[in-house]
């Protein structure tokens, strides 16, 4: 035990004042809030409205809005379908598994474009999806009113998320920098069969299939004139979504670092 210090407790008997001080304090507050209490009359006054904040915080001298800045708020998502590249990163990064990739109009019928559909019944508004979005097309807005009467209405299809985007609400501006030493996607050349699946499905089209000649014949023999293709990944465009790894039929792509 450390050394006890002397008690700094104030004397607890003030028989003369008794309860006068608390009464006076309450009365002081009564006078202060007689005409304008600190409450925000919610549906009519909104904290995210900067004009209201200015009026109340500055003009009325009320504590409301001392710390309020709404730019970083994590509310309902806004999705710009046009720039979405269907990389799946938002769905991968969701801890609650509330994001589904669903087909949207556009894209060729064989490989339809997929965009996130968010179930707000499960969403915890952690913002990992918008952090993970490499194109900045899935962002969180300041909209927080979500009451619905049907459970099915909680699921926001990409089109509904696009409607939120079109409202041009203030959006969370934060973009995370990628770490310098993140893994790259590497190729195991002998296993590759050149099937083109990775290049076809790559959302950023950073994989190009380059022609190579597979030295399958022994030296001296006549080389087979068959042209093999091998993926070459443009690292600066790659968003590390791992789609190529998951579609590779031979598991010849993998994560790693090139030293």
């Amino acid at each position: 035990m450390s050394t006890p210090e002397t008690s700094s407790r104030p004397p607890n008997d003030n028989p003369i004042l008794w309860v006068a001080k608390p009464l006076l304090t309450a009365a002081k507050q009564f006078r202060k809030s007689l005409f304008r209490p600190s409450t925000i009359v919610y549906p009519f006054e909104r904290l995210e409205d900067p004009k209201f904040r200015e009026e109340v915080a500055v003009a009325a001298g009320k504590p409301i809005g001392i710390g309020a800045v709404w730019d970083n708020y994590r509310g309902v998502h806004a999705l710009n379908i046009d720039t979405c590249i269907s990389c799946n990163l938002c769905a991968f990064s969701c801890p609650d598994l509330c994001i589904d990739m669903v087909n949207v109009a556009g894209g060729d019928p064989k490989h339809p474009k997929k965009c996130p559909e968010i179930d707000y019944g499960k969403c915890s508004y952690c913002g990992f999806c918008s952090d993970a979005c490499p194109e900045g097309c899935l962002t969180m807005t300041t909209r927080y009113e979500l009451s619905v009467t049907k459970r099915a209405d909680m699921v926001f299809s990409p089109e509904r998320l696009y409607q939120v985007y079109e409202q041009k609400l203030p959006m969370n501006p934060i973009r995370l920098e990628r770490p310098e030493n993140e893994d790259q996607i590497l190729l195991d050349p002998p296993v590759c069969i050149g099937c083109n699946a990775c290049a076809r499905d790559c959302p950023t089209k950073c994989i190009t299939m380059l022609d190579i000649v597979k030295p399958t014949a022994a030296p001296g023999e006549k080389m087979p004139k068959r042209i093999w293709k091998e993926p070459v990944i443009n690292d600066s465009d790659c968003v590390r979504c791992g789609t190529c790894i998951s579609v590779c039929p031979k598991e010849c792509l993998f994560w790693g670092t090139r030293k």
């Binding site: 309860v19 608390p22 309450a26 009564f30 202060k32 007689l34 209490p37 600190s38 409450t39 009359v41």
Partner: protein, 375 residues
């Protein structure tokens, strides 16, 4: 002089006489018969009284909600009606529509009878207390005693409701309530004795007339303190709201009551609060009379007595709200200790003071201090 009964009587007799004029003689004679008119008049009188007292009670709740809100830096009810004036009517309607459920082990008679009896016994008070000259049921020579007797029925019904709802919280709350009310009946009665000594009457109207010149709060300041503290305990308001101390006893003795039964308790509590404020105004603050320095025009307009009386009542209740907003709740043993060991001696002292004031005839001396109601 305009009196409530005459108003009620006119309300029923004028239309009846008008109708009787168009009716054949035997029927009209039966209709405008004095007994029938008196009975109907009494009924209308009761209806007016009930309506007025209920509206006042509900306004009192609104007043408390708004004022407490301001103490707490918030707004209180504000959406139903102008500034939330109709909120409590809406709440009452909601409670009226709700199911009342009786716990399995609860006693049928006690569970339903106790809230009703509590409500009725509280409402009866309005017939006893004069609001202004002529605005009471009748001239009762012992109206003060009757009022206090009816007022002290409550612990019985509270304990009955607590006991019959077969709940441990209710039981604890009921016992606390009974102990507290009985403990504070004594100082209240003793404080009233001081008033009686000074005024020489048990009739509330007479007591108010005695205060026409000097309000009793200045000479009987000790009695006023005792009476206010006792009333706080009787009304079960913070700091003395232990019977329904929600932190430990959920809702105390009305834990098991819901819907209209709860509304009865809630309303009756505020009826009692209103009655308590009435009593304070009647006994210590001069009732409907105003001090002499008030210009005559302020006291002579129609219903001026009722206006000033209600204004004083609401101000007194405002003080209660102020106390509620700023003080914590005390503990049962501390409450009882204060009741028996501080309030009773203080009230005895106040009787002695009252006797001394009467004997030395110095009431005008104290009462003449400017601004405290000297006439």
């Amino acid at each position: 002089m305009l009196s409530l009964y005459s108003v009620a009587y006119d309300l029923i007799s004028i239309p009846l006489t008008a109708i009787a004029a168009h009716l054949p003689a035997p029927l009209s004679a039966w209709l405008v018969n004095t007994t029938l008119l008196n009975v109907l008049g009494a009924l209308v009188f009761c209806a007016i009284l009930l309506g007025a007292s209920m509206i006042n009670t509900i306004m009192l709740i609104w007043f408390e909600r708004k004022m407490l809100g301001r103490f707490m830096d918030r707004r209180g009810a504000m959406h139903v009606g102008f500034a939330g004036l109709l909120q409590n009517f809406a709440d009452g309607l909601k409670l009226f529509r709700k199911n009342t459920r009786r716990p399995k082990d609860a006693d049928f008679v006690g569970f339903y009878a106790a809230p009703t009896a509590y409500m009725v016994s509280s409402l009866v008070m309005f017939a006893i207390l004069p609001v202004s000259t002529g605005w009471s049921a009748g001239a009762l020579p012992l109206s003060l005693l009757l009022a206090l007797v009816v007022f002290s029925f409550a612990p019985l019904f509270i304990f009955l409701s607590a006991w019959s709802s077969a709940n441990k919280y209710s039981l604890l709350g009921g016992m606390r309530s009974a102990a507290q009310m009985i403990a504070y009946e004594v100082p209240i009665l003793l404080a009233v004795v001081a008033v009686v000594v000074l005024s020489g009457s048990f009739d509330l109207t007479t007591i108010v007339y005695e205060q026409q010149n000097y309000w009793f709060w200045a000479p009987l300041f000790l009695a006023l303190i005792v009476f206010v503290a006792g009333m706080l305990a009787e009304m079960e308001r913070i700091p003395f709201d232990l019977p329904e101390a929600e932190a430990e006893l959920v809702e105390g003795w009305n834990t098991e009551f819901g819907g209209m039964l709860f509304a009865f308790f809630m309303l009756a509590d505020y009826v009692r609060a209103l009655v308590g404020c009435f009593l304070i105004v009647l006994l210590f603050l001069g009732g409907w009379t105003m001090p002499g320095w008030v210009p005559a025009s302020a006291t002579s307009f129609p219903l001026a007595g009722i206006f000033w009386f209600m204004l004083k009542t609401y101000l007194v209740f405002g003080v209660f709200i102020w106390i509620r907003a700023s003080l914590p709740r005390v503990r049962t043993d501390q409450l009882l200790r204060v009741g028996w060991m501080r309030m009773v001696p203080l009230s005895l002292l106040s009787i002695v003071l009252a006797v001394a004031v009467v004997l030395t005839k110095c009431l005008p001396v104290i009462g003449c201090v400017p601004g405290i109601g000297g006439g």
